[in-house]
Amino acid sequence: MAFYKDKYDVIVIGGALAGMSCAMRLAAAGKSVLILERHNLPGGMATSFVRNGIEMEATLHEMMSLGKEDEPLYIRQYLDEMKVAIDWLRVPEAYELYSPADGIDITLHAGRRADGTWVCADEIDDKYPGTKKEVNRLLETCRKVYESVLFLNEHTLSKAEMLLKHEALVKTAGYSAKEVLEKSFHLPEEVVKILSAYWIYVGQPISTLPFTIYSFLMADYMIGGSYVARGFSHEMSVAMAERCEELGVQFEYCQNVEKILVRNGRVYGVRTSRGDEIHCDYIASAPYPNTVYGRMIEPQSEVPVQARKYANAMPMSVTCFSVVLLLDQKPEDLNIHSYSVFSSDIPFDTDVFWAQGRNLGGWDYLTTICLNYANDEAVPEGMTSLSITTLPLPESFMQVRPDQYFDVKRSVAKEMIKRVSSHLGVNLLDHIVEIEIETPVTMSHYTSDYRGGIYGYQHSMNNSVVARLEDVEKEQYIKGLVGCASHQLVGDGMACNINNGKIASKMILAMMEEQA
């Protein structure tokens, strides 16, 4: 009698989006795969919860990289190819940016017209006349970079071909979004601000955000729009988990991997908290390198110095603070009219917002999402589902002790609710039916992700995706061990992590081939 096979080709630690994506593709290639997930649900952060019979979304605001069914973007294509069926609902607008100190209140929509111009360029031009041409030019540049990145994700080219066919990417690869936006385009300050609102989806101020990532984000959202799943992010997670099992993946919940076993520089298995020692040739790991090298590798003498340097040097990106509300009236009655609002209570400045992320509260940049406008039937009749989110840095919460925890999270949440209330002119505190406050500690509790991180490492100029790709091979410090979550190549977000998982599977398959 045994619960596990003697040996697996691959053990995937963590059954979240990246882990499932990786496992599914390996299983489709005929490999024996075991997923060990510490929680009793799939999906990690991509999850929902139920309060008094009402389901509430924990995280998913906008799923990118899907595009319409008849014009699928790369993640929709991948999910189709893997036969993962999810009932997607399109989000109505791209976003509203509300920054009264700058006199900005504008709503943009995704979409590109047959003549190649962009819907949002017209919307901006309406308020800032004469900017249409430059905005179109900027978005065209973004689109070219985007397409190059996607093409090069699958193909290798010579230097000459690169320069010829992927000029936009090559030219901008060494620069930050701020440098390119301000130096290569002639746009009023307000328009630059309007077009920087998505910075929060990578948690990086535009001064240190590589233009490559900026372009990817802008083009992806503006071409494809964004989506939510009809059955919350849990629908996406369950659909992927089901598909994994159909493909023969053994998926075990409630199994925390305590140790990664290494011998002669190569992984050979894991040990779980239950005490099971399970053997394998390869491991894909959701735990961050900090955790893996810091306390999971056994024996610790197997951790190369270079690996420690790497983990210790990697700059942690943001974590999150999110207030999830169910309110007792319809959105219109609460003066809520948009799905997604980014708001700033000071003049818009991503450097300032980012630096505020070190503090506990006092956060001026908030994202407010009203689920009704994308998925009305998910919200009880006559009510509103609203979340208010900001992405502070882990240091904001490092000093919070358990005894202060409830008070701290309530006082910060209250401040955020008051800010949004004042924008709306409606006191939301008078309308709360359910409230859940998600903090960095919540993230750590449910995923055990390092320091409650949700976005992996910073997408900064000194940790650019371009450089990450360049050195990915060198950074396989322990043979057979690959990272598989937000701390990997492509970084944060649900779509990106499905891609991170796909990349991890490719890397493992390649290593298997080399080995053979």
Partner: protein, 394 residues
């Protein structure tokens, strides 16, 4: 390697690649791993807390209060009034758990020479409750348990609830209100509490002395007695009239008691047009008789084969149609995670691979996608045929 350094040798790319290599080269070569946020998360939600009974006291002819302190080096996590604790139990080959509301105040688990928490367990009819009678007959000072706490959403949330709480209690449902009363009296919970406590006779009042000993003008206790015409005080059930009499303009109602009381009280609150957001109900446990639940199909009580998949192993056990699958597993000695045992917390989530089950609407705390994909909460799923379930390896 199939991942392409797609900008190999291209200018611009070399600028960022160099910057990153420098960054890594300057990384600390030592193991400096520390994760204070993880430590806080673990202290707030310990997987398990080893506890020891340090005192046992009768608090009514049919209820007993057990005081627990952390055992050997463990510490008690903070909790909020109204949350519950789940105890791991092993009784005659059955591995099970039971949830009990914590009846002591949060501050008592944080302060003093020996911080503690308390549970009050009722044993109405001796020999009936499987666990409660075992508790009554066996548990004494010095016994140790594995406890899981805190759980549950039945707590006062100042951002949501009115500052005036009306507690509607019945039977052992008084326990969370005793916790609140003490926390308020101690000055660490900022609210006013009026408890309307329904009992058949004054003999049935649990924690009577303890409640009477609370001396604080923010806390009021009104016993409502249904079975004694001569009682000198509020008589009858927790009716709209009585509730109204003790309510303020904007009160939040917390309801905790037996299932029958919920149905009654819900109707009474409706008569008073209390808005939904002002009513908080505690989960009430599995129904005593599932065949009486709404929508239960016409089938005779039966024993079914239950195939249990854990990893690559499959076991065959028996399951009664009258008991939830979680109980069938426990009777067979198969460990399974449970906390609330009411269908709401999801700890017992598992996959129904084959077969048919009945899930009472009132105990269906599943997510939409789980319902659509045949995931069940084993504590609130009753077999209607031979079944196969895939459960976590515990």
């Amino acid at each position: 390697m199939k991942v392409n350094g797609f900008l190999k040798d291209v200018t611009g790319a070399s600028r960022v690649t160099k910057a990153r290599r420098e960054l890594i080269e300057h990384g600390d070569p030592n193991n400096i791993y520390s994760d204070p946020i993880r430590e806080t998360a673990k202290e707030l939600h310990p997987e398990v807390t080893k506890v020891r009974v340090i005192d046992v006291k009768d608090v009514s002819p049919t209820a007993r209060k057990y005081r627990f302190a952390a055992d050997l080096g463990d510490i008690l996590p903070p909790f909020m009034c109204g949350q519950y604790c789940s105890l791991d139990l092993e009784i005659d080959g059955t591995v099970t758990t039971r949830p009990y509301s914590i009846c002591s105040a949060p501050f008592e688990a944080r302060e003093g020479a020996e911080p503690f928490f308390e549970l009050t367990i009722r044993n109405g009819r001796p020999g009936e409750g499987f666990v409660s009678s075992w508790f009554y007959e066996n548990v004494k000072e010095g016994d140790t348990f594995k406890a899981h706490l805190p759980f549950g959403q039945f707590y006062y949330e100042p951002l949501r609830d009115s500052k005036h709480i009306v507690g509607l209690a019945g039977g052992s449902g008084i326990t969370p209100f005793y916790s609140m009363a003490k926390e308020i009296a101690h000055g660490t919970m900022d609210a006013d509490l009026t408890i309307l406590y329904g009992s058949v006779s004054t003999k049935d009042i649990i924690l009577k002395e303890e409640l009477e000993a609370i001396d604080c003008d923010r806390v009021r206790l009104i016993n409502v007695i249904s079975g004694d015409e001569d009682y000198d005080g509020e008589k009858g059930f927790l009716s709209a009239d009585i509730i109204k009499k003790y309510s303020s303009e904007d009160s939040t109602y917390f309801v905790c008691g037996p299932l029958a009381m919920y149905h009654f009280v819900r109707g009474e609150l409706e008569k008073l047009n209390v808005p939904a957001r002002r009513i908080r109900m505690e989960t009430f446990g599995a129904p005593r008789d599932i065949t009486k639940a709404e929508g239960y199909p016409e089938i005779k009580p039966a024993l079914f084969a239950l195939h249990v998949i854990r990893g690559i192993q499959e076991d065959l056990v028996q399951a009664s149609s009258l008991e939830p699958i979680a109980v069938a597993l426990e009777r067979a000695g198969i460990k399974n995670n449970t906390r609330c045992r009411s269908g709401s917390c999801g700890f017992c989530r598992c996959k129904l691979v084959k077969g048919e089950v009945f899930v009472p609407a009132e105990g269906d705390g599943r997510r939409r996608a789980d319902k659509e994909n045949n995931y069940i909460h084993a504590c609130s799923a009753y077999p209607l045929s031979e079944c196969t379930v895939k459960i976590p390896i515990v």
